[in-house]
Amino acid sequence: MHNKSVAELSRELESGKISSVELTQQFLDRLKQEDGKYNSFITITEEQALAEAKAADELRAAGKATAWTGVPFAHKDIFCTNGVRTTCGSKMLENFVPPYDATVTEKFRQAGAVCLGKTNMDEFAMGSSNESSYFGAVTNPWGLSSGEKRVPGGSSGGSAAAVAARLVPAATATDTGGSIRQPAALCGVTGLKPTYGRVSRYGMIAFASSLDQGGSMARTAEDNALMLNVMAGFDPKDSTSIDREVPDYTATLNEPLKGLKIGLPKEYFTDQLSPAMEEQVRNAVKEYEKLGATVKEVSLPNAKLAIAAYYVIAPAEASANLSRFDGVRYGYRCEDPKDLMDMYTRTRAEGFGAEVKRRILVGTYALSHGYYDAYYLKAQKVRRLIQQDFANAFKEVDVLMSPTSPSPAFVQGEKTNDPVTMYLEDIFTIAINLAGLPAMSVPAGFVDGLPVGLQIIGDYFAEARLLNAAHQFQQVTDWHQREPK
């Protein structure tokens, strides 16, 4: 069962061959047995999961089942879950139990899905390797057989590793600068970051509000479509969510790709990309040509500024977003504070990890009196230029394709002492967040036995087209079905 997709499990449940309680128990047993190798979960919610499974079986018996009713999955530990601790990978929230559900959490509950637990992540979603988690690094299921522990990417490394290791068929994730696509690429799974505003951010713990977007991870594009069917939609509780009709994302998966116009941004195929990686990506593009797509080179002239702009805007927003973690109302508080200032400084010094503190400092600096114009305002101007680049590209083509990451999964510890090298992991993904566009990462080959991701970028609200393109590719390739040994 653990090799089946959400769509397949849904059919199994519908046929009555297995109950959700049986299925959930199987997944829980496997999860508890296997996850020691990966550390992909922070919290396993066995009791709640079995209760949800029981309720799902009852719903199904009453004829009220949806595609998700009784199907196991997991939430990234950034989504608040009523009554279940939500840590965001931080000591600051080690014991935080929200009294409310995120809108995304609520929607999966309503769909009858069975949540097995909360997946590991970089602390407050800040990282590209899942090594900044207070709950320990996550190990990529790929490359383990060679004896080396590799990173799963980040920040949604727990979700990616869990899906790759067949611990869950699907998991929620979030993406601020590449946090869905890069781990999906490094773990050989399929991930979707929707258009900014497509999925509610309510109850999703904020890193950088203007960039954060919830999305999905699963092995197939079809399962991502099923996830987006649940997650997408306007939410009156999120003023930045967009009131726009939600299509059935599975309905257009089988549209033919003949005539699809693919653009390859020349700035994403430079010497920053190893020849082996580039070969895999170009081979994938050739598959699309076989499916009837046409390919042309396009230019995103300001793409090279994306990392610099991002590392002003994201830390600036984060520096304010993380001010609420002050030890006053919830979360970690230092022992025996001697006065208010002592409580603030020690709570935050002890409660946050190094990368989070680094970004708070960078953001605070960028917003400071006398620097605001030079950093924050300038970065916002760059952001508009980048948006314009994409707008120009989409006048010529339907989708853009590129590698998702510059290299496959690297060995744990390799980049932890060099933040700038680590930041370059997101060199191909960050501009998409600055523009607010939807993008996917789809398994597209291997280099040295490690998965390579193909990034497909769409225009605003083109999720259905992206899923269609990914699904058609997965009909003629089997990279997404490969299992780590």
């Binding site: 950034i78 929200p98 309510y202 009156p236 003023s239 304010a320 009196h369 605001y372």
Partner: protein
């Protein structure tokens, strides 16, 4: 040396919306601590603000009332600082693109002049919670501070004036006018004791006639007109002493203690926070369109200036009475209800400014808390005007109405036997009888030539007359009859 005083005000006005500016929690005052603070108000992780449309409507109404431009694109920013009663670690406020742009208010001064005070802008923002200064103890007996977040997220408009006021009197007159405008609009309950309006006063001095502004100080959080007046006087004197001794004013924020008439420095410019303002990414810019403004305009009630003019015109009140009665919307409504029932506007005005206001003040009540209605006071005015009761008797009726002894004016007059005797025949008989019993005084009166003294001596007969009539004789008629009988 002669000095010019330069004053600018920043006024926080709490908007009387039912719910908070970014959450659905109630804004009602006085609930148990933290019972009106939901996950958004507590800044729980992942929660997001959703703007309250009514707060925008009220702000636009205010803008229209002060002749201001309305900001068509209204942007919220984060003002970052740490404080325990500021849950998010930033205040959501406006800086570069506020909802209300430049405007002005005309203020009538006691000397009859009208002063125009320009409004620089007014912006929407959220209030913070309150730190409770009572002492709490944990189970080990350690002292703790309390935080009440009921107020956190209450919508405010902060009104910022130009430095157009030149005396405490002008500043207070402006403040009262602003109070009158926001209460008339119904966008603020105006209850200063509950912090519904709070004033920060910026003060500087400059040599008389100079066009160079001096260094200013800001005195924060004054919550009554009286404290504001005292604080200005105090600060002007402090600055004058320093300047006349050859010293320099330090730009700083000061706190004024009204009970002790003292002030102290809270922080200097060097110690000021760097608030690191930036546009709030959780809130999209709010676009105010023509329809929204027109809708707000339709909702504007009569404003104090128009009401004052109408009171003069419609009720024949003089400028002073009209000004006093029109300023407070609730008092104005009470007055109009009184006149509707009592007809005699001048008499109604006198009673409201006299007995009624004195009683409210004595019991520290607002007009809304008055135990008597305008209709009841109007009924009483009718009985005063038609001579059914004397003014002394009317005070007894008022007392009975106020204490709730009875709610009907005529019933009180009957029950207490306060009906004046106005039957001339009966009154003449009483006068004859009293004068017959006081021959010496009558002779003395008639020998006196100074009319002033005679008038005074007339009072000597009134006491016995009122006694003879058991207090029910119409004093005015008694007076007329006396003068006639005593021969002028």
């Amino acid at each position: 040396m002669q000095w010019d005083i330069v004053i600018g005000l920043e006024i926080h006005v709490q908007l009387a919306t039912q719910t908070k500016i970014f959450s659905g929690s109630s804004t009602a005052y006085g609930a148990e601590p933290n019972t009106q603070a939901n996950a958004v108000d507590l800044a729980m992780p992942g929660t997001l603000p959703v703007p309250n449309e009514n707060a925008f409507r009220y702000a636009v109404m205010f803008g229209l009332a002060v002749n201001a431009e309305i900001g068509r694109r209204s942007v919220f920013e984060r003002k970052n600082y740490f404080y325990p009663d500021l849950p998010k670690g930033y205040q959501t406020t406006q800086l570069e693109q506020p909802i209300v742009g430049p405007g002005y208010v005309d203020v009538d001064l006691a000397n009859g002049e009208t002063k125009r005070v320009r409004i620089h802008h007014a912006h929407l923002e959220e209030d913070a919670g309150k730190s409770l200064h009572e002492t709490f103890f944990d189970e080990l007996g350690h002292g703790m501070s309390g935080i009440d977040l009921n107020r956190a997220g209450t919508p405010l408009i902060e009104v910022v004036t130009e430095p157009d006021m030149n005396s405490a009197e002008e500043a207070v007159a402006f403040a009262k006018k602003l109070h009158s405008i926001v209460t008339s609009l119904g966008i603020c309950d105006g209850d200063m004791s509950q912090g519904s309006m709070r004033f920060d006063v910026n003060i500087s001095l400059k040599p008389k006639g100079s066009d160079q502004l001096g260094t200013r100080t800001e005195t924060k959080n004054l919550n009554s007109f009286r404290f504001m007046e005292q604080a200005i006087a105090h600060e002007v004197e402090r600055q004058m002493d320093i300047l006349e001794d050859g010293g320099r004013i330090i730009q700083e924020t000061r706190l004024y203690n009204g009970d002790r008439d003292e002030s102290r420095s809270m922080r200097t410019k060097e110690e000021a926070n760097d608030y690191r303002y930036f546009p709030c990414p959780d809130l999209l810019p709010v676009v105010i369109d023509d329809d929204f403004i027109e809708d707000a305009r339709q909702r504007l009630p009569e404003l104090p200036d128009a009401r004052k003019a109408r009171f003069k015109e419609q009720y024949g009140l003089n400028d002073y009475d009209a000004g006093l009665l029109s300023g407070d919307a609730k008092l104005a409504a009470f007055f109009e209800e009184t006149v509707e029932h009592g007809k005699d506007a001048k008499l109604a005005a006198n009673w409201i400014q006299g007995e009624f206001s004195a009683r409210l003040n004595a019991e520290e009540k607002t007009v809304a808390e008055s135990p008597i209605t305008g209709a009841q006071l109007g009924d009483l005015v009718v009985r005063i005007a038609d001579n059914t009761v004397s003014s002394a008797g009317a005070k007894k009726v008022f007392e009975a109405l106020w204490t709730g002894e009875n709610d009907n004016v005529d019933a009180i007059i009957d029950a207490k036997g306060l009906k004046q005797v106005s039957d001339t025949g009966a009154l003449e008989a009483m006068v004859d009888e009293v004068l017959a019993g006081m021959p010496d005084q009558v002779a003395q009166y008639q020998n006196e030539e100074d009319p002033k003294k005679r008038k005074k001596m007339l009072g000597g007969f009134m006491g016995p007359l009122m006694k003879a009539s058991k207090g029910q004789g119409n004093p005015k008629l008694f007076n007329e009859i006396l003068v006639e009988k005593l021969g002028g």
